[in-house]
């Protein structure tokens, strides 16, 4: 990596300090600024816990009817768009399995909505703070020479070669990270909240367009499923990348905000 690039990386981060090279910065263990602000760290972990709870409870709700439809209506008497090859917690559903799982919908639905509230309110705080503090502009929107197909191709190549990030990259997000984080924050999360609310008979009584725009209640449920799968894929990829670059050090940085000595990330 060129010195010019190192300096550019230094400029991108949220800290007000003079840009210095990554190597210099890493040696300043006591005076160094936070890699992630307190707000980013707190909202990250509340979101992570809420998402895990939503995922577990979502799967539990799903097994009471592992069939999907399109449009307004669908039940075991109507043909399914597709079915998941899993057992069900209802004897009504023909699954091909000779057993019925215990009913878990009660606590699952309670947990699903409670975590959804935590996630949505945390998301509002994060997005509101991110807009006013310039976090999105500085740390997530691609900058300058990164806004090109060539730059995108370059990061795809370095990712596909499984190259470890440079010391400077530890202080910033690369282009693929920026694009995927923006997609998760501004496309997938809004979409999963929207499709979830579109299944609420009370919410749609006040805002009927939220479900008719999607093509009906069953369409909303099917889209909700696919967005959840996309978020799960993101989670696996995200954790996989963190594992690849050094799970313990990155985990510590996301909790404390501090970056340890370079030997940790090497």
């Amino acid at each position: 990596m060129s010195a010019e690039k190192l300096i550019r990386m230094g400029e991108m981060q949220a800290t007000p300090q003079e840009p210095v090279s990554g190597a210099t910065r890493l040696s300043l263990s006591t005076a160094q600024p936070s890699r992630h602000s307190v707000l980013v760290r707190a909202t990250h972990w509340i979101t992570a816990l809420s998402f895990l709870a939503l995922l577990i409870s979502g799967v539990e709700i799903l097994i009471s009817h592992p069939r999907f439809y399109w449009g307004e209506n669908g039940n075991v008497l109507t043909p399914a768009l597709f079915k998941l090859p899993i057992p069900s917690s209802r004897s009504l559903v023909p699954t091909g399995y000779g057993f019925v799982l215990p009913d878990q919908n009660g606590w699952s639905r309670y947990l699903h909505f409670q975590s959804a509230w935590f996630l949505a309110l945390t998301g509002l705080i994060y997005v509101g703070a991110g807009l006013t503090s310039g976090h999105f502009r500085k740390n997530l929107l691609p900058h300058g020479e990164d806004v090109s197909w060539r730059a995108l191709w370059r990061t795809i190549v370095t990712h596909s070669r499984f190259e470890q990030p440079t010391a400077a990259e530890v202080w910033s997000y690369n282009l693929l990270q920026r694009l995927s984080y923006l997609f998760v924050i501004f496309v997938l999360f809004p979409l999963i909240i929207w499709t979830g609310l579109a299944m609420s008979p009370a919410f749609t009584s006040s805002f009927p367009a939220t479900v008719t725009l999607l093509g009906g209640r069953q369409s909303a449920r099917t889209i909700h499923f696919f967005v959840a799968v996309s978020l799960l894929l993101f989670l696996l990829l995200h954790v996989g990348m963190v594992w690849f670059v050094g799970f313990r050090s990155r985990l510590r940085t996301m909790i404390t905000g501090r970056i340890d000595g370079p030997q940790e990330d090497a």
Binding site: E72, G106, Y110, F113, A202
Partner: protein, 252 residues
């Protein structure tokens, strides 16, 4: 301890105290304005209260979506049910002529309504969706008498807050607040898709609450109790649903 970490500790402490205080104030206001559901205690209380309070603040006068006749499902699903009791079968053998819905509690004229009486009141029809919390749904036309009409005939008292409704199956009862009870789409439904309400769908008469999910639409209604205090019923959680682990408010 350095200055910075002390300052951080103090500001974190102050933020936490402010958070707890505002939570307390919010809970007090929610109680004052009747935004607390009966199952607001326990570990799921926060989410359940936010769900119920949002419905009260956002959707109190809204109408459930109605559909065109062409959108009625040709395959409405009658969900599984426990076997019907001997008492039910006896009434069924008599074509439900002796079916009664008793009304008591905070009404001026407690008494019992026969099916004939219900059918003599102005009937209403709606083409709405029944959605089960499991995920499946269908659209059907329901015919019946608005619950608000029956409550008016019985002389509902002004301090009534909830209508508790009971199935002939003693383990199956539920309740709704007055917003839903007086809502024009809340029916005691005795007809479906142009015919009598089939037994599988709760015939001769079921509660129809289209702004809530399927399980609030209790089948085989025999008793309405009008009250200002849900603590007097069952375990005090508002219905059999929370006793079985399900949320009392089922608008989502």
């Amino acid at each position: 301890m350095t200055d910075i970490s002390r300052r951080k500790l103090i500001s974190t402490g102050l933020a936490a105290a402010a958070g707890i205080t505002s939570l307390g104030v919010a809970a007090g206001l929610a109680k004052k304005y009747g935004l607390l559901p009966p199952d607001c205690g326990g570990i799921w209380g926060v989410g359940e209260t936010l769900n119920y309070a949002s419905y009260r603040l956002l959707t109190n006068h809204s109408m459930a979506r109605e559909f065109a006749r062409s959108e009625i499902s040709d395959k409405p699903l009658a969900n599984e049910m426990p076997p019907l009791s001997g008492a039910f079968k006896k009434l069924q053998a008599g074509d439900f002529a002796d079916w009664r819905i008793t009304v008591d509690g905070l009404v001026d004229r407690p008494g019992a309504f026969s099916l004939q009486q219900l059918k003599s009141y102005p009937s209403r029809s709606q083409i709405t969706q029944l959605a089960c919390e499991e995920g499946w749904s269908y659209v059907a036309e329901w015919t019946g008498v608005p619950l608000s009409h029956v409550l008016k005939v019985a002389g509902i008292q002004p301090h009534a807050k909830y209508v508790v409704y009971f199935s002939i199956d003693p383990d199956w009862w539920d309740s709704i607040d007055m917003g839903d009870a007086l809502h024009p789409q809340t029916f005691l439904a005795y007809g479906m898709n142009g015919g009598a309400l089939p037994v599988g769908h709760g015939g001769p008469v079921r509660m129809r609450v289209p702004r809530q999910l399927g399980y609030k639409n209790v089948k085989f209604i025999t008793h309405l109790a009008i009250t200002d205090d849900l603590k007097k019923f069952g375990k005090g959680l508002g219905s059999a649903s929370p006793e079985g682990g399900y949320a009392w408010y089922a608008g989502i």
